[in-house]
């Protein structure tokens, strides 16, 4: 058995740690790219959402490198992601690939026993003792938390750094070197050292950079290829960005949601505009928009794939929030046709707008 998984942001660091330490054979698909998307689009129904297509591309690339088993999570909220696995399984079979799927579903839907047996399928391939398996899992969780934390810090610091481009450089270096680590322990040590480095970069506390919150559909905000690396671009403009959704957020949310202690602040903030869970992460999107305003951000950018049902609902609500709070929000819809030039123009125009607003406020006082 050679395991693979679809890309979603920094997850591959955790996967490397986990499978590496467990001693299970695995393949990390090549980083999502135009090639993955083209391959995925070629084989998927046209109206499937972008995440589906990129994921198919990931699988095929991983199979080329020897993978025979995919792990995916199927969420049972009222959105498409939960229906992916069935279609993806059939699709891969029709394409003639012999790919095993291990679907990690919520225990509510498939029963705790079935869930454990699916986990067992993976972990039985490891010769480690039970305690050591758990230790490996904990290290993987530590890794994902650290990478996400480092990334968030770098994105924020980009607005304050004295030496332009330093945070981005450190972030990229960190990711590159982490992939060269031989095991979880050394990766954690490396990540910690990079964290310290980032904490200590020279920052100008008096700077008042533009601050933008990145909100929207979870896959397209987390997987950088799908949003045309928007966060990297904003770093280049010296903009400070913040994004709540990340793999580590998702994990924490998953653990806390059965006891209803997950993301209380976001739910509270969303209440006035969207009090119910409607599927996907629409309520988070709304809550984050309000929160971003309250926390003094200059604006928010909503990103979602063409045809994304829950985010279309958010998009209908956001203009009202924007109006009520005098808070600019830009919506970017991405799909395989998104042209880079037009996309960048819109982002630049938005930054210009935020800058002008900032100058006006300053000159008024």
């Amino acid at each position: 058995m050679k395991i693979t998984f679809p890309h979603m942001g920094n997850i591959y660091f955790a996967a490397k740690t986990l499978f590496g330490d467990l001693g299970i054979d695995y393949v990390i698909p090549p980083i999502s790219s135009k090639a993955s998307l083209e391959l995925g689009s070629l084989h998927s129904a046209e109206e499937m959402c972008l995440p589906f297509k990129i994921m198919i591309g990931n699988y095929i690339h991983a199979i080329e490198k020897g993978a025979d088993t995919v792990i995916i999570t199927g969420s049972c909220g009222p959105c498409r992601l939960g229906e992916y696995c069935e279609l993806q399984m059939n699709l891969m079979k029709r394409l003639g690939y012999n790919l095993d799927f291990i679907v990690i579903d919520s225990p509510n839907d498939i029963g705790a026993k079935e869930l454990l047996s699916r986990f067992g399928k993976i972990s039985s391939k490891s010769t480690l003792s039970k305690t050591n398996k758990i230790a490996a899992l904990l290290r993987a969780i530590k890794v994902i938390n650290l990478v996400d934390e480092i990334e968030a810090m770098a994105r924020n610091k980009a607005g304050y750094e004295v030496n332009k481009g330093e945070s981005k450089k450190i972030l990229n270096e960190c990711k590159k070197e982490a992939m060269n680590c031989s095991d979880g322990k050394s990766m954690i040590a490396l990540l910690n050292s990079y964290k310290t480095r980032l904490e200590n970069i020279e920052a100008d506390k008096n700077k008042n950079p533009i601050k933008i919150a990145i909100i929207g559909e979870i896959y397209t905000v987390i997987e950088p290829f799908s949003n045309l690396y928007i966060e990297d671009k904003l770093m280049d403009y010296g903009v400070s960005t913040h994004r709540t959704l990340s793999p580590s957020w998702w994990l924490k949310n998953l653990v806390l949601s059965p006891i209803n202690l997950n993301q209380l602040d976001i739910k509270r903030k969303a209440k006035e505009y969207l009090p119910l869970m409607i599927g996907g992460h629409a309520r988070e999107c709304i809550g984050e928009a309000v929160l971003a305003h309250d926390e003094g951000f200059d604006g928010a950018i909503q990103i979602f794939p063409m045809g994304c049902m829950p985010e279309i609902v958010s998009k209908a609500i956001l203009p009202q929030i924007s109006k009520d709070k005098d808070f600019p929000i830009l919506t970017l819809v991405v799909d395989e046709m998104t042209g880079e030039a037009g996309y960048i123009t819109r982002i630049e125009a938005f930054i210009d707008l935020l800058e002008r607003r900032k100058d006006n406020v300053l000159s008024r006082c």
Partner: protein, 297 residues
Amino acid sequence: MKVGIPKGLLYNNYKPFFHTFFEELGAELIVSSDTNRDTLNNGVKYCVDEACLPVKIFHGHVAEIKDHCDLILIPRIMQLREREFICPKFCGLPEMVVNSIPDMPRVTMEPIYAMSKDRLFKWAEVVGHEIHNNKGRVKKAFEEAVQCQLNYKTGLNDETSPMKVALAGHPYNIYDNYINMNILKKLRKLGVGVVTEEIIDEDAKAKEIKKLYKRPFWSFARDNYSFTSIAAEKKLVNGIIYISSFACGIDSVVIELIKQNIEDFPFLVLKVDEHTGEAGLDTRIEAFVDMLERRSS
């Protein structure tokens, strides 16, 4: 009290319930017109661009009546059956409407969970209270409404027609003749009868759905998948026509599941949006019927 009822989305399926409930409470009903060009234009004007045609049309119905009533019914249908869902846009429908159409009167925000009478009554209690203070009266209106709904059946079954197609898709695409450009009439004129998913009983559907690795958690998916699957397998019809709207995320999955399942059974997907031309649609229907005729002769 004037209560506005938009004739969009699942109106056709649940009209006895809503009509009876509000009438029993003594409300005056303001019902929008059958979908027409103005409905569509208003819908396109107010609704977010990215939305699907049925949701846009729903906005159009609301816009037509909003200035003439005190309260508008916006059925936020969350679930019809246990562990199944409808569509994110239904769940967020009131928010979409009130944030998109200016100067709205009050609307019903309460979610509808229709998997049991008790859960459904929660909706009736809250909404009924807005109209009438008397709890007994609300309860009575609710009971009447449920009764009327239970006596009401939707579904088409041109049993005797020698040539038949299964008409699949969301109910509003099947029953709103403006959305589907009178497909029923068109088919019947070509001598083709129509049957819809209601002809399959619930048990058979449940059994059919079990064959999937993962139970679809959308009610629409469950109905359409099992209906087409049984219709094709048992040869209840000569072919299947699926009416869908562009930008419907659910259909993008369901149609794929169906295609993979029925293999080469005749299957036509008609996708509609505000730009769909009737002539093109006609041609495709005619070509499909020709094909069915060739196959059966």
